[in-house]
Symmetry: C2
C-alpha cells in the first residue's frame, strides 16, 4: 500500500481502545474486573421479543427483505408508541423508517438532509459516532459546550445560537445525553425548536435513552412540542429493551423526508433484519411492564453508584437525569486516559476516558451503571475509594 | 417545507415503482400475477440457520452488540470459506468485516477508500444501488458499457481502461452481474487486477451471486488471482442461502482497510445483528449440501425460462452465466417501462424495466427466475408468448 486514499484517516478513534486492550490483557491474566465501560443495558430483553422470533422461525417459506421502511405492522406499532408514549400527536406509520439501530437512523437522516460543506451543531461532551457520520457526509461538526450547573450538565441555548452561521444545516440534540445523562428540559426544547424553525435549520433529535430517565426528569421530544417538517426523531430499542444485538432503531419525519430517505435506506441496508423487526414488534406489547421494572432497577444502580462514590477524592460525579452512565470530573489536573488506565490497573474497574467524547470531556471519566448489578457497582465504588 | 436541502433529489429512483404499483393494484383486484420482478432466491434458508437462531434464543443473559467487525467465530468461518470455496489463499479472519448485507459492505468499503470528488468506474447495465452509494459518498459514477457477444453480455477491458482518469479511485466489478448474469472470465479478472494495480486503483468486487453460476461458468474472485492490498471482496448470504431478510454480508480486505473501515462500521451500524450472525454461522456448516440443491433448482428454473421464451417475438433473451435473472432485449424500438406495464396488464407477468439499470439497460427487460417454481416460470413464458 503506497498511500492511503480515503476520508477516514483524520477521524481520531476515541481513546477507548487503550483501556479495552489493557482490560483484555488483565482479564487473560485472571483479574476480577468490574466493567463500567460499555453503555449497554445489562438486562435480558422482554420475553415477548424472543417468543416473537420463535414464532417467526416456525413460519414456512422463504425469508425475503421486508419493505425498505420496515414491516407495516412494526411501523404502525412504532407510530402508535410515538403518539402514546412520546406524545407526538402527528406521528404516522408512513413517517416511520425502521433502521439497523439508531446510528444507521442518524446516518440515513443526516445523509438525506445535508449537502457536503454543511455545518452541523452538536453538544460537547457528546456522542462521538455522530461526529464520524458528520465527517462521512462531508459536513463539518460544530461542537457547542454543555454548561455545568452545580453537579449537572445542562444545555445552553445561547451557545447554540452563537454557533449558528448561514452554513448551519442541522442541530443534533442527544437527550438524555451521552456521556452526561443530561436531559433537555421542556422549556429548552421549545426554545430550540423555535430557533431552528426561525433559521430553517433541521433538528435531528437522537432519543436513544428516551424512556430511561430518573424521576422527576422527563424526556421531551422536540416533535412533541412542535409539528415541524424539519424535526427528525431518532430512536432505538437497543437500550430501552436491552436489545442492542438485534440492531433495530427508527427515525420519524415528514412524508417528503421519507421519500428522499428511501433512496439512502435502499443503498445503505435495503431494510432492517426481519427477525429483529419481529422481535421488537412483539416486545412492544410488553413495553410498559418491562420499562417499569427496568427503570426501577436502573435507578437503583445509579443511586448505588452515586452513593458508593460519595466522598471520592479523585473525581466528583455529576448527576445524570437519564441514560445508563454518569460523568465524573477529575479533581486533579490529570490526563483522563492515564487516569482510566491507572484505576483499571489498581482497582480492576473499567471506565471510559471522557476525552473520547470531545474537548469538553477532557479531565472527566464516564462510569456506566447499566451493565452491572447493584452489589458489583457498590464494590466498584469501594475499590475506587480504596476501601 | 420551503426548499429541500439534501443531496438525494438528483438520485432518480429506478422506474420499478411504476410497475410495482400497477402490480399491487392488479393483485388487489384479484389478478393471478406471476412475479418475475424481485431478484431474490425464493427458497427457504438452510435448516441449520434456523436451528442456530433457536439455540441462540435459548441462551440466557443480555443481548449486547457483537464486536464491530462481527462474532469472532463467524469471521473465522467466513475466512475459511473464502479460502476453501473462493480460493482466496491469503484470506484471514482479521480481514473480514461482517455487515448488514452486501449494500452496507459496499457503502462501508467505498466510504472508507474514497474522498469526495473521486471517480468510480461501474459497468452498465449495472446495479443501481451502487450508483446511489457513490453519489452519497460525494463521488462521481463513471459507467462503462458492457459488450454484447452473441446472446451474452460481456465485460470489456478496453472500455475500462479508456474510462480511467487521474481521478479514478476505484472500479466496481459485480460478477455475476445484476441485471445481466454476466460472469467475468478468469482472464478478464486477471487483466483487470493488473490494470488496477498498475494504476493504483481500488478494485471493489461485489460477489453477491458468487456461487450461483451455471456450469461451465465459474466465478473468479479478483482476490483469488491477486493478493493486492487494494482488492476488496464483498459478499453476502442473502442470495446463496436465501437469507435476504437476515441482512448479513461481509467484506474482506487488508489489515489497513479494516483499521479505517472500523470507524465507518461503528458510525453506520456498530455491528451486524447478532442473531443473524448466528444464523449464518450455523448455515455455513451446511453450505455444500444446500448449494448443490439450490444450484440444480436454479438451473432448472433458468432453463425453463429460456426454453419457454424460445421464439418470443417481442424480446430476445440473453443467456445468464450466473445469478437469478436474465435480461431480454426488446426487438422493437419501444420504451421498456411502457413495455413492462403492457405485459403486466395483458399477461399478469411482473418484470423490471431495464432502464432501471442504466443507459445501456434501455430497451431491455429483466426477468427473474430465482423466485418462482419451474411450472410457474413455464406458465409465465406461455403467457408472454400469448399461448
Amino acid at each position: 500500500m503506497t498511500e492511503w486514499t480515503g476520508r477516514t484517516t483524520s477521524w481520531v478513534r476515541p481513546p477507548i481502545a487503550i483501556v479495552t486492550a489493557l482490560a483484555a490483557q488483565m482479564r487473560s491474566e485472571g483479574a476480577d474486573l468490574i466493567d463500567l465501560g460499555q453503555a449497554i443495558l445489562g438486562l435480558p430483553p422482554p420475553r415477548a421479543a424472543m417468543d416473537g422470533v420463535r414464532a417467526f422461525l416456525d413460519e414456512p417459506g422463504p425469508h425475503p427483505y421486508s419493505p425498505d421502511p420496515g414491516l407495516p405492522e412494526l411501523r404502525d406499532a412504532i407510530a402508535q408508541m410515538l403518539r402514546s408514549h412520546k406524545h407526538i400527536a402527528h406521528a404516522t406509520d408512513g413517517g416511520v423508517m425502521v433502521t439497523c439501530g439508531a446510528n444507521q437512523a442518524f446516518a440515513n437522516a443526516l445523509l438525506t438532509v445535508t449537502q457536503p460543506g454543511d455545518e452541523i451543531i452538536t453538544f460537547d461532551p457528546g456522542y462521538f459516532d455522530h461526529g464520524y457520520t458528520i465527517r462521512m457526509a462531508g459536513c463539518t461538526e460544530v461542537p457547542v459546550p454543555l454548561a455545568i450547573e452545580g453537579n449537572r450538565y445542562a444545555f445552553d441555548l445561547d451557545a447554540v445560537v452563537a454557533a449558528m452561521t448561514n452554513k448551519t444545516r442541522a442541530v443534533v440534540l442527544v437527550s438524555p445525553g451521552n456521556p452526561t445523562g443530561a436531559v433537555a428540559p421542556r422549556a429548552f426544547v421549545e426554545q430550540l425548536c423555535d430557533v431552528c424553525r426561525t433559521r430553517g435549520v433541521w433538528l435531528l433529535s437522537d432519543e436513544t435513552y428516551d424512556f430511561l430517565t430518573f424521576d422527576p426528569a422527563v424526556h421531551t421530544s422536540p416533535a412533541a412540542v412542535a409539528d415541524d417538517d424539519r424535526i427528525v426523531v431518532i430512536g432505538t430499542f437497543s437500550k430501552i429493551f436491552g436489545m442492542a444485538g438485534w440492531r433495530i432503531g427508527y427515525f420519524h419525519g415528514s412524508a417528503r423526508l421519507m421519500e428522499e430517505a428511501f433512496k439512502v435506506q435502499d443503498a445503505l441496508v435495503v431494510c432492517a433484519p426481519v427477525a429483529s423487526q419481529r422481535a421488537v414488534l412483539s416486545a412492544l406489547s410488553e413495553m410498559d411492564a418491562y420499562l417499569l421494572e427496568t427503570r426501577a432497577e436502573l435507578r437503583a444502580r445509579r443511586d448505588a453508584l452515586l452513593d458508593s462514590l460519595d466522598g471520592w477524592s479523585a473525581a466528583r460525579p455529576t448527576i445524570p437525569a437519564g441514560a445508563t452512565f454518569l460523568l465524573a470530573r477529575l479533581t486533579d489536573n490529570v490526563d483522563d486516559v492515564a487516569f482510566c488506565q491507572r484505576i483499571l490497573r489498581d482497582t480492576g474497574v473499567v471506565t471510559v476516558p471522557g476525552s473520547a467524547f470531545g474537548k469538553q470531556g477532557r479531565g472527566t471519566v464516564r462510569l456506566s451503571f447499566g451493565n452491572q448489578p447493584v452489589e458489583r457497582i457498590r464494590e466498584a465504588g469501594a475499590r475506587l475509594q480504596g476501601r
